[in-house]
């Protein structure tokens, strides 16, 4: 699952039959340097959301075939919002001296 920042939502007027009552988030997945610089995100993707994430929150997005697992029947969804992140601790380098 990748860490992603929610930047918006998508509302569909015409949809695939499997997407009934869907909630879609536009998210920016974090790249290797995003935790430090706050930018350099990966390209934005749209994730299916059942947890109610709002714009600006940080979520964990599950992608590829694992994104279809939470649905009972096979669903053509490839990004799924699996968790809303409360706290996130990140340390890019090991501060201990190399012994």
């Amino acid at each position: 699952m990748r860490i992603a920042t929610v930047i918006g939502r998508v509302t569909l007027s015409v949809r695939h039959r499997s997407l009934k009552g869907e909630r879609l988030l536009v998210v920016l997945p974090w790249g290797p340097k995003t935790a430090i610089t706050g930018k350099d995100h990966d390209y934005s993707i749209v994730a299916y959301d059942e947890l109610g994430a709002g714009v600006g929150s940080t979520v964990a997005v599950s992608e590829s075939t694992e994104a279809t697992r939470p649905f009972g029947e096979p669903t053509p969804v490839d990004a799924y919002c699996a968790a809303l992140i409360d706290t996130l601790f990140y340390q890019a380098e090991d501060p201990r001296p190399v012994t």
Binding site: M1, R2, I3, P29, W30, G31, P32, K33, A35, D42, L51, G52, A60, S62, E63, S64, T65, E66, A67, R69, P70, F71, G72, Y80, A82, A83, L84, I85, D86, T87, L88, F89, Y90, Q91, A92, D94, R96
Partner: protein, 91 residues
Amino acid sequence: MRLARIRGYVTSTVKHPSFERCRLLIAQPVDDKDVPDGSPQIVLDPLGAAIHEKVLLCSDGSWARDYLGDPRSPARWWIMGIVDPKGHLAL
């Protein structure tokens, strides 16, 4: 499978129910020269890896689902092993 460095952890209360009883760590995939390569992943940790340790990640979601005991879990990456810091790459 991929080599990665553990760089932190996440806590989450509102999440998919299958993640109730597991640790979620942030693993930064690295290449053979320990240079970050690709987006950081939130991984399941059944082994208790410490921060900044080099670990071996596996993307076999089916094992992760068995481990969590929920066939509908969106889990994918998990820690398969912790690399011996004294071990030398045979490159």
